[in-house]
């Protein structure tokens, strides 16, 4: 058995996709293939540190390259039949001839009331552009398979290819007044129907993921919430803990219930 055998494939420990034997990074999500994922005792696993210059293929021939370590940026090379969507304020540079199109993403009142950008842009190839989140952290690349849907906390979405569907999901009730974060009023949902897609998130600080079994539940700080599978449900709970003067109890947590994955970030905790 040699690594030149085309039947031998390396399996990515992060997204389970296979790459050519001998590859140093997963061709689907960019995770390094030369190490086992780090699991904490409690079952969280750190998202893979995507190395500088890692290239990821998607669509019909487009490429995505991760550049930088402190505030990583994503350089996109779009094939003529591919497109990418992103929020307008994430743009870093673009080629002169690459046109941008504004996508309609729902009522303006929804986005004005939340902290979310009103403008989702779409760029169609051929051409190159780069996007960056503008905060120190790391990238989380999530392949989205047909039938799969991922809910993303506000402010964490960086880019997704155009085969993914997109909706803005309003959270139940008046959660904003309960959550100590000023963000988190809405989630962005990305889903794949017929074709697999690619979703790129930016985690402030470090990102961790935990897979919950059916019915398994967990309390997560709302400000640390990064993403979840659509199959994961959640409620908001007021903790019976005094956090202020006069016995004020102001600590709220998200109770997330499996099955599915939950992602958190370490750098966005409220002051």
């Amino acid at each position: 058995m040699t690594t030149t055998d085309p039947h031998i494939r390396a399996v990515c420990q992060w997204c389970q996709a296979t790459s050519a034997a001998g590859a140093t990074a997963c061709a689907t999500c960019g995770a390094p293939l030369d190490g086992a994922p780090l699991h904490t005792v409690s079952g969280w696993r750190a998202s893979p540190k995507i190395k500088d210059h890692t290239a990821i293929r998607f669509g019909t021939g487009s490429g995505l390259a991760v550049e930088g370590d402190i505030v990583p940026s994503v350089e996109l090379a779009l094939d003529p039949s591919d497109g990418m969507m992103f929020h307008h304020h994430r743009l870093l540079w673009k080629e002169h001839h690459l046109p941008l199109t504004a996508m309609r993403t729902g009522g303006s009142m929804i986005t004005l009331m939340g902290e979310m950008s009103r403008v989702m842009l779409s760029a169609s190839g051929p051409g190159r552009l780069a996007v960056s989140h503008g905060q120190a952290g790391e990238l989380v690349v999530l392949p989205v398979r047909p039938g799969q849907a991922i809910d993303v906390g506000e402010g964490s979405f960086l880019a997704a290819n155009h085969v993914l569907g997109y909706t803005i999901e309003k959270l139940q009730g008046s959660l904003r007044s309960k959550l100590r974060s000023t963000e988190g009023f809405y989630m962005e949902r990305f889903y794949a129907t017929e074709w697999p897609g690619l979703l790129v998130l930016h985690a402030q600080g470090c990102a961790f993921e935990r897979t919950l079994a059916d019915g398994e539940h967990l309390l997560v700080d709302p400000a640390a919430f990064l993403y979840k599978d659509h199959s994961v449900s959640f409620t908001t709970e007021k903790m019976d803990v005094t956090t202020g003067v006069m016995g004020w109890k102001g600590l709220f947590m998200m109770r997330v219930v499996g099955p599915g994955r939950v992602g958190i970030e370490s750098g966005s905790m409220a002051d």
Binding site: D52, H53, G63, A65, E67, G68, D69, I70, V71, P72, S73, E75, A77, H88, H89, L91, L92, W93, K94, E95, H96, P99, L100, T101, A102, L112, S117, R118, V119, L121, R128, A130, S132, H133, G134, Q135, A136
Partner: protein
């Protein structure tokens, strides 16, 4: 016989057996300069303990995410920097200050009113106080670069510093008031080497990427992310009208400042992206996180769309 190598970043020749990194810019010896497919070059990642030689003086770089510059100044050698960047200094170092901006400019912008000038002998430590990549800019005689003031960490002796107005601004009219906006900042710092080679130290917000532009080669970048550029680079502002969001421009397109004519009030909704358009020749360095600047926010952009479109006067 000694072997010498040419630094892939700045072209300086040095003996890699004697020094692990380029003495002028700190790029590790033997490290190929990698560019992205889009033509961007990442500033070389400086190894810990990298030493930059500045004549008889030197600077040592420590730390990666929040780098610190440990300067060892020879007797009579000078280094200038903003007072907010000073971490510590030896009592033997003499300190003075020179006026670099009018008090009005200092109030109106982030430019320090006076620049500290430290004179050796002795050591001092400088830091930007934020997460960001440190870039070393060797300057040959006659060379000049323009930097965003928050990006400039320090300049060695021999560099002339002066403020220049930002090349891009626009007017935003809101009911009775008219405000001039500066998406690249109000003033920039021009660094010019006079008769001797010198060096400047810049700190990005996040990572620092550089693009070399050919003659008249255009490039669209986020205005607030520009960290520094060669003085030979020319700039103009551009507004990209998004496809499908403008009755006046149904196919979208790019309109440059000065030639923009937006007379139609039927242009509603979020419909434009503001760009800084660079033209070569020269280098443009961009931070992956934006510097503070007067950029339209989403809601300001909404105002622009709704009310100010036809009243915007572009420089």
């Amino acid at each position: 016989m000694s072997l010498v190598t040419a630094c892939g970043w700045c072209g300086t020749t040095f003996d890699p057996g004697a020094q692990p990194s380029c003495p002028r810019c700190g790029a590790p010896a033997g490290q190929a300069i990698e560019s992205t497919h889009g033509g961007w070059i990442e500033t070389p990642a400086l190894a810990a303990h990298t030493i930059i030689q500045m004549g008889r003086s030197s600077a040592r770089i420590e730390g990666a995410q929040n780098p610190v510059l440990f300067c060892s100044l020879a007797d009579g050698d000078q280094m200038s920097f903003g007072h907010r960047n000073l971490l510590w200094l030896d009592p033997t170092v003499r300190m003075d200050s020179v006026k670099t901006a009018s008090s009005w400019a200092a109030i109106a912008t982030e430019v320090p009113w006076r620049q500290i000038v430290a004179t050796g002998p002795g050591e001092l430590g400088l830091a930007a106080g934020r997460a960001g990549e440190l870039g070393v800019l060797p300057m040959d005689p006659g060379a000049a670069v323009v930097a965003r003031p928050p990006a400039l960490l320090a300049a060695a002796v021999g560099l002339g510093l002066g403020l220049v107005p930002a090349p891009i601004s626009y007017w935003e009219q809101d009911d009775d008031t008219t405000v001039q906006r500066f998406p690249m900042g109000r003033y920039l710092v021009r660094l010019a080497a006079s008769s001797a080679p010198s060096v400047a130290f810049v700190v990005a917000r996040g990572d620092l990427n550089v693009r070399r532009l050919g003659i008249d080669e255009p490039l669209l970048v986020h205005p607030a992310s520009v960290a520094w550029y060669d003085e030979s680079v020319r700039w103009r502002g551009s507004v990209e009208l998004l496809r499908g969001r403008s009755a006046a421009f149904p196919l979208g397109g790019l309109a440059s400042f000065g030639s923009l004519s937006l007379g139609s009030r039927s242009w509603t909704g979020p419909g434009a992206v503001l760009w800084a358009e660079a033209f070569g020749p020269g280098r443009v360095a961009v931070s992956t996180a934006a510097f503070p600047a007067s950029m339209p926010t989403v809601r300001q952009r909404f105002q622009i769309d709704k009310r100010v479109t036809s009243e915007i006067a572009w420089d």
